[in-house]
Amino acid sequence: MLGTNTRRVLESGRRAAACAVVCVALGCDGAPSGDAAAQPEAPAAVQSVAGSKPGIQLVSPLPTGEWHLPSGDYAATRFSPLDQLDTSNVGGLKVVHTFSTGTLRGHEGGPLIVGGTMYVTTPYPNNLIAIDLTQPGGAIRWIYEPNPDPRAVGIACCDVVNRGASYANGKIIYNLLDAHTVAVDAETGKEVWRTKTGSIDIGETTTMAPLVVKDKVIVGNSGGELGVRGWVLALDVETGKELWRAFAAGPDSEVLIGENFRPFYEKDRGKDLGVSSWPPDQWKLGGGTAWGWISYDPALDLIYYGTGNPGVWNPDLRPGDNKWSCTIFARDPDDGSARWAYQISAHDAWDYDEIMENVLVDMEWGGRMRKLLIHPGRTGFVFVLDRESGELLSAEKFQPVNWAERYEITTGKPVEVPEKRTRGGAVTHNICPSSTGAKEWNPSAFSPRTGLLYIAAHNTCMDYEGIEANYIAGTPYLGASVKMYRGPGGYHGELVAWDPVQAKPVWTIRDEKLPLYSGVLATAGDLVFYGRMDGWFHAVDARDGRELWKFKTGSGVIGNPVTYIGPDGKQYVAVYSGVGGWMGAVAFPGVSADDPYAALGVVGAMADIKKHTVQGGMVYVFGL
């Protein structure tokens, strides 16, 4: 039986599938940019979901019976309106397909589902596997093997991961580890274009999932541990031609800060701050990479993303605010020009990248509807901003945090704890959270039916010593010796159901053994799906966290679950199983448990993982 809601999204999913086939048949070369072919429905400003709490609207279009974008939708809610699976029947969920990806490194990200085909992007060597879901047990349609440069493996700071793809105009578009972006024909598996976006010779890699916005592919680089200069760029979806590039540091002309730039706070105003907030020329090695998630608001026509840590890690080597590291940017997708910027922490001293997801929701706030951006940060605070203006509305802690007392809303600045600010030549002890943050890259989910943000968090603290650093192109540029360990409270991971209006958790589920390192999925069936690093995959009740179902996969789950309607009209849930990533790579044989300073300091906190899981590389699909 299909609910009304499910039928509606299933139909729109079928329209999208039909549209994709037409696109492929016609070659799509003449298709106007940003038309309905890219998305199941023409973008409307906002959408109410059946059963939503009053005063909550989502940025549409939402994912339908398919899953075309890394987070399902533009707004990074990871919410699906599908409701065949719900709290009453999820207990009967069973494995219906499994596929090996043929790779054993960290499986961050998640698959796409387009027109009866599932598309899986693997960790390096970044193969793209198309699986025909209409065949019993699934069947391989084709495998695209891009063969990226193997030297990229040695410069990827935090495992050779890939965080997923976008589907648009008949193409699957994703990044290769060696700083290239490719577009692959979704029907034939043939490469349509391949664009070099950066250079592995200076330590640039690309691991994030690009987002297609209208006729542009938005890509950001990785390499903040190797002294690269961060950027976000746009490629033409049809040709791969670079259209604009916005650096995270340097003169305004290269950061694409112009006359439309209106930062809300005084601290973020001034000319060429991307140069003047650094020692001479240090901005050229200044990091601020954009290796996380891009969000898009079709009504405001703005993209949002956060930038990573400043280079080098030792803060004494780069006096100044180090703009625009650890910053949330709003930009015009057409020309990349910055609309506003909000630097979360100036002169970062802890490696608190702020590349985490920016969840876009319209909610009642202080008695009126506001366009919100919710950013659960590595710093341990959930930031709520007005996404039109960049004004900070709220910042509250969701995990143990001691580097700052609180945020001052009037200035947008943290009230820091001076003794927790790290420096060169001395060990600063017991800083919470650690460099891996109170949460990592793994994205949250938001349900309009509960009004809650589901954050997969972890609780890790650290000792941090600034040391010498020498820039040698293509090698790590750290200047820090870091040792991490479990934080206070007797737990390591925590699923936090966070009320952004009350700025407090409503319920939490703790993992005593390991951090949570998977993405989260929320559905209209009031289900929340998440994985654990020991391999368990869970479904819980979105309203109270009650456990409804679980399944033990073959390796740690650090992927992002997705849901879709299969060719048979039934709802399925899919997730990757394959431990890795910065924290999870400690499970690998090539990392020794007796050096707590190894893997940039995470081994101290993660040595136990070797007792709980080993490498794997699988896609699991579950259904009733």
Partner: protein
Amino acid sequence: MRPSLVLGALALAAAACERSTQTQPPAAAAGAPAAHYAVGPIPGGGERSERTNPFADDRGAATSGRRLFVAYNCAGCHGGHAGGGMGPSLRDDVWLYGGADGDVFASIAEGRANGMPAWGTLLPESQIWLLTTYVKSLRTPHEAQPPR
């Protein structure tokens, strides 16, 4: 900042470190020689390395090598005390390209697959031997600055 200038400064600093060692090899004017034997399994398990580590019995050399291990960013890839990360652990029992001193020297000098740079074009031979000596000291009673 130019990498070559940095390396020059580092070479000078490292030369100062070497005074602590007993054996002072002549400073190499050029980098280490290129590979002269094949990488990988040798049919018949024959002798592989003919190079001799001039610091093999020199405890101070491991400490100098550790300094270089940090200064040349080896620690960033292989871990603060070589326990692994971006690059493999050097502490464990696994030697992908051989564990004799000459093999380790060759891996550093010639570079290896998947991103290990060929340092032989940048560093004098004596420094590569110091790094080799540090790597070989790991998990031994005389490991230089073991992790705490």
